[in-house]
């Protein structure tokens, strides 16, 4: 692959990359000017549809198609709710985008609002991203001052108000309907779907929910064109009739036991091995990797032998993972106990289950307790079977829960037991106690 020139990250590290003046000097808001002067909202939707852009928030739903689900000729209001909750463990690319180049994202927000005829956009940010919040607050004020937000934007009779909303430390606010409930001032209990947000969303009005990276891509689809976007990525897999292909650039996060953790932008479809060796500086301390999580912990676990899997929307599924997720790869080395990894992951979901559905609330707790028992050297071989059973039984796919948190909680458990069974069995048989710390009081 020839060296790829970053687009989404091209301005990172430039002096004052956050300011509207430098952004405009670099060609910023050109796409918006072009769209409102030359394109109808429908044409913007069509371009996004034609680009093949799929949501970067984890589910990979085609963005243009989602926009067409809004009711036609609706009297309004229509809302745009931006998902900036980014709480999937090991994921931080939205943070980089907002801290470094808020206007690139904001231009995408305005374009999406123009296309969907939304009058108000709420940008929901996790509380932990204080710097993003302050950077964005300033960017929004600059955009208002230059007539890019507010009434009669660019003199074209289109209006948009943008408001920032802050979360309060709950992962479930990233699930789109949990987010909407939280925005409405309630506990973030995800809603039963349908109705989907496009029909009945924020304040019971039609609402588009999109991720930050998704909207940053929209800016460049309008600026550089559909052909540019489709010139990179992976075409549909003929063996998977439900795969519409994976086009465009993607931000990948690399962390864990690598020499050079960070964020890289590459065309969709890079392999885990390339990410680790070429962009992550290799596994630390000259060791080998034991495995990695491929796109946030919800997507499951890959073994080292599976590292040649391409990270596009369709790739991780071929080795039994849930999907591309957020494109966040966390590597663990050969000396890490799989029991510690599993415990850490199950503890997360047990802590973050919103408690609304019994299978998820109870199941995530049981899985954590069993994983803990195994790492303390008190596990039983039957535990592996029960863990797998719970992993299979909770989620929207088996039809037992309201939201996908439970699918994401079950997946790494199923993958771990299936792919690392010999290690678990020998740990259990030997009664091996984990040497890493366990904070009894920390749950």
């Amino acid at each position: 692959m020839p060296e790829y020139e970053p687009v989404l990250l091209r301005r990172v590290g430039r002096p004052n990359s956050q300011s509207i003046d430098t952004y405009r000097a670099d060609g910023g808001y050109r796409a918006l000017e072009k769209a409102v002067a030359q394109l109808t909202p429908e044409q913007v939707v069509d371009q996004v549809k034609a680009s093949g852009l799929r949501g970067r928030g984890g589910a990979g739903f085609p963005t243009g198609l989602k926009w067409t689900f809004l009711p036609k000729n609706h009297p309004g209001p229509i809302y745009l709710a931006v998902n900036g909750d980014e709480s999937e463990p090991c994921t931080f690319n939205n943070r980089v985008l907002l801290e470094e180049d808020p206007h690139q994202f904001l231009e995408g927000v305005i374009l999406a609002a123009y296309a969907t005829r939304a009058w108000v956009a709420y940008i929901y940010l996790r509380y932990e991203y204080g710097r993003c919040y302050r950077t964005l607050e300033k960017a929004v004020a600059e955009a208002y001052a230059q007539g890019l937000l507010g009434r009669d934007i660019l003199g074209k009779g289109f209006h948009l108000d943008v408001h920032l909303a802050r979360g309060a430390g709950a992962y479930i606010c990233g699930e789109e309907t949990g987010l909407l409930e939280s925005l409405e001032g309630k506990r973030a209990w995800p809603r039963v779907k349908p109705p989907f947000p496009a029909v009945e969303g924020a304040f019971r009005k039609p609402t588009v929910v999109n991720n930050i990276e998704t909207l940053a891509c929209v800016t460049h689809i309008i600026d550089r064109g559909v052909d540019w976007f489709k010139s990179m990525g992976v075409p549909p897999d003929p063996k998977n009739p439900r795969d519409p292909g994976s086009y465009g650039p993607k931000l990948y996060n690399i962390s864990g036991h690598v020499n050079k953790p960070g964020t890289v932008e590459l065309p969709l479809g890079v392999t885990v091995r390339e990410l680790i060796d070429k962009y992550g500086g290799g596994v630390w301390k000259g060791r080998k990797a034991k495995g990695a999580i491929p796109g946030g912990i919800s997507m499951g676990i890959m073994t080292e032998a599976e590292f040649d899997t391409p990270l596009d929307f369709n790739g991780p599924g071929k080795v039994g993972c849930l999907g591309l997720g957020t494109g966040a790869v966390t590597v663990f080395d050969e000396q890490t106990s799989i029991a510690d990894v599993l415990y850490n992951i199950t503890r997360f979901f047990s802590h973050e289950s919103c408690g609304q559905c019994t299978p998820c609330r109870e199941g995530t707790g049981w899985m954590m307790k069993m994983a803990d028992r195994i790492r303390r050297g008190d596990g039983r071989l039957e535990d592996l079977k029960i863990l797998e059973e719970i992993g299979n039984a909770i989620g929207i796919m088996p039809g037992t829960t309201i939201c996908g948190l439970a699918d994401g909680a079950g997946w790494p458990v199923k993958n771990a037991i299936k792919k690392f069974r010999p290690e678990f069995e020998s740990l259990i048989r030997a009664g091996t106690k984990s040497t890493s710390l366990q904070l009894v009081s920390a749950h």
């Binding site: 204080g130 309060a168 864990g256 904070l439 009081s441």
Partner: protein
């Protein structure tokens, strides 16, 4: 009514135009109150409810869902030190650091140092994984922590 300061009430009321209904101001109001008072006392909850035409139980329901908000029995110290314990950080020794910080302050996770300066909590991934182990000082990241850096940080926050 008179528990919340006039200034705080004005700030809460100023959020109303952003939303089509009053209940949506619940989270902004809880944030404003906790930022200033380091917790959300019952009396504050009642006054928020009155301002937003809600029952105090509705405000309480929302507040108690988010472990983030503290009741008056458990106020935050001057600074909240939120130490990540999720996968990327754990792989680089985060749990040991959390344990160390707790021992230094003589508290359990969630507790506040006797001088009221620091509340130390565990966090689930705070999105600073490239700088693992990582923590938040209120809402700003501190990355690549080590035992020495945590000690220096605690000293800084106790000044």
């Amino acid at each position: 009514m008179g528990f919340l300061s006039e200034d705080l009430k004005q700030k809460i009321l100023a959020c109303l135009p952003r939303f089509p209904n009053k209940q949506a101001v619940t989270l902004p109001a809880l944030h404003l109150v906790q930022d200033e008072l380091r917790c959300v006392p019952l009396e504050a909850m009642r006054e928020i409810a009155a301002m937003l035409d809600l029952s105090p139980a509705e405000v309480h329901d929302t507040m108690s869902f988010y472990g983030f908000f503290r009741d008056e029995q458990h106020p935050l110290g001057k600074t909240r030190l939120w130490m990540c314990r999720s996968l990327a950080c754990s792989l680089l020794g985060a749990e040991e650091l959390l344990d160390h910080a707790c021992k230094k302050l003589n508290v359990k996770p969630g507790g506040t140092s006797a001088d009221g300066k620091i509340t130390v909590e565990f966090a689930e991934c705070i999105g600073g994984c490239e700088g693992a182990p990582c923590a938040l000082i209120n809402d700003e990241h501190r990355m690549n922590l080590t035992t020495e850096k945590v000690e220096a940080l605690l000293a800084e926050l106790r000044q």
